[in-house]
């Protein structure tokens, strides 16, 4: 428990310039993830979860207005790294990523095997043969037969392409793989079998995963820790058992009640209202406008409070907990 987390994120902020002003897409996010741990980042669209993924990989768009915070990999602060050093030592070496809809971004005229092997050739400088052998191994791991190495992307089904991009993230044996909505475009059975593959990979390789999704049900297939984002901030961070069993933040509670469940008679309840505009978020709690338990204190930006050992909540209702 006392050992250094694999990745520690402290007060991460990423603001974009836009035609109408500054979009505060990520506004002070802190969390950490250990080795061989699966963290799920949940949130509605526009809450900043994809921005978080990009910030962690330092794949920033051109219109960044402000990027700050600390990103510690094995205790080593990487924010000061030059782009070249970050690319050489962190990106795709320690942390790799499966981007949203990546399966549709495979190059149609290059064989799948070659594309998946590319990180090895680029980041490790391996020979084509070495890379091919390693790629075949990883294909086995994600559940694709090695025959598919020679195929073109259009010859693969959606599920197979998704496995291929997962293989691409895994070939360099990173410690952490970030996945942005990896299964949301897939069918139920394909989803389940990819989640099975992730569980197996986690067991066999000890890889850590950050799974970014809005699909709470599917995320529970792998989640050990859950981070819930709202309007660019982390509102709750807890063990999956606690989060799914007894959510603490009012938003978490409403969100869990809005999930349709197969074996439940009650109709899921939607959350009224809309998330605030990140161009000009409210000064107090960003969820206050939609919150059924709001009170006068909510006009001030809530601090993050610790409940027990393993849970933090950004809400005044939990002010009895210790400050973080």
């Amino acid at each position: 428990m006392a050992s250094e987390p694999l990745l520690r994120v402290e007060d991460l902020r990423l603001h974009y310039r836009s035609g109408n002003g500054v979009v505060r897409a990520l506004d002070g996010v802190s969390f950490d993830i250990r080795r061989n741990e699966a963290l799920v980042v949940l949130g509605e669209s526009g809450c900043g979860k994809s921005t978080l993924a990009k910030a962690l990989m330092r794949l920033l768009p051109r219109n960044v207005q402000h990027f700050s915070g600390n990103l510690l990999v094995d205790g080593v602060e990487t924010m000061g790294f030059s782009e070249e050093r970050f690319r050489r030592e962190v990106r795709w070496v320690r942390i790799s990523m499966v981007m949203q809809a990546a399966m549709n971004a495979l190059n149609p005229v290059i064989r799948v095997g070659e594309q998946v092997a590319e990180p090895l050739r680029v980041h490790r400088g391996w020979s084509a043969r070495q890379a091919r052998e390693r790629t075949a191994e990883v294909f086995g791991l994600v559940g694709i037969s090695a025959d598919f190495l020679q195929r073109y992307p259009f010859e693969l089904s959606g599920g197979m392409r998704q496995r291929a991009v997962l293989a691409m993230a895994l070939v360099t044996e990173p410690d952490l793989v970030i996945m942005d909505e990896p299964t949301s475009a897939l069918d139920v059975l394909t989803q389940a079998s990819i989640m099975n593959a992730l569980k197996r990979i986690k067991q066999e390789l000890g890889t850590s995963f950050i799974l970014i999704t809005h699909d709470i049900s599917t995320s529970s297939e792998i989640a050990e820790r859950v981070a819930l984002m709202y309007a660019g901030q982390l509102v709750e961070f807890a063990d999956a058992k606690d989060f799914f069993g007894e959510p603490a933040h009012p938003y978490s509670k409403l969100l869990m009640a809005s999930v349709p469940r197969l074996h439940q008679e009650e109709t899921p309840v939607h959350i009224p209202g809309q998330p605030p505009n990140l161009l000009d978020p409210p000064e107090g709690c960003r969820f206050a406008e939609r919150c059924p338990s709001r009170f006068d204190r909510c006009d001030r930006d809530p601090e993050t409070f610790r409940i027990g050992n393993r849970r933090t909540v950004r809400c005044w209702l939990h002010a009895a907990g210790s400050r973080v």
Binding site: D187, L189, S217, S220, E221, A223, S258, L262
Partner: protein, 336 residues
Amino acid sequence: MSAPARDIRRSAAGPVLSARDLHTWFELRQWGFLRVGSVRAVDGVNFELQAGEAVAFVGESGCGKSSLARTLLGLHQPTRGEVIFEGRSLGTLDARERKTYLARVGFVQQDPYGALPPFMDVRRILHEPLIVHGVRNRAEREKRAREALEEVRLSPPDDFLSKFPHMLSGGQQQRVVIARALILRPAMIIADEPVSMLDASVRVEILQLLRSIQTNHGLTLAFITHDLSTVRHFAERIFVMYAGRIVEQAPVNELLNHPQHPYTQALLGAISDPDPDNALQMREVPPGEPPSLLKPPAGCRFHPRCNRMIPGTCDQEDPPEFEPRNGHHTACWLYR
């Protein structure tokens, strides 16, 4: 509901819509002229929908559910079999009658942004079907457009009438699509994955809206979806489709609690509820992927993936429909 009551013409007896031995095949050609076969998107589908009933067609992508919806709408000509609406086969309608049919059946598309013309404002979008169907009086059209917006809870209508689709959120766009489907006062609505492009938090809201409109007006609702976890709340009967066919049909609770077909069982087994224990175990998933509709396997189409396959039967003979439980039909040899 504030919307005025509507006069829904119901046929006294018999189903509103039925499909008999319906086949929709798409011819596949090479170099533009060589026939290389047919994609059997809908391949022998039979069902009957009663007036005022909400049903869901559930299946994975490529099972033919969208082709079925489009065939029901008359957008695809069936290769064989027929669609019967209020006692008349679609194939026998003349041009004028087809137009009337399209006014009686509303369509809610999957992608709201793609379904709304970007260069029309909401007012124009809602007036358009009325103009096409001969409502000449502008004031009357405007009144109905406002009513429709109220009905999908885009109120006050004045805030929305002059907006263009890109100015609306995904949920609002889908409401406009629903308003457009309702504006001709149809007897039936076909909704093709009405919420799959929307944010999770908006989905329930839109589904509830559709359901309440359906019950308020006694509409028949055919709801096409891949998401079994929501159907309980929005449909009374489920049809499960696999590879162009209906493999199982039953009332919602019956089907969810006692799935009979191995495919349905696999599908239900693969769906997670948010439960932290999920992470501790592997899910059972049938091997392989759905077959090519160009050359579907002989016999039962699920047999290559089925763990209860009966050799000599399932891989050779097409299973007919059996009724293992009261009102619960399935095309599977296990129940012969």
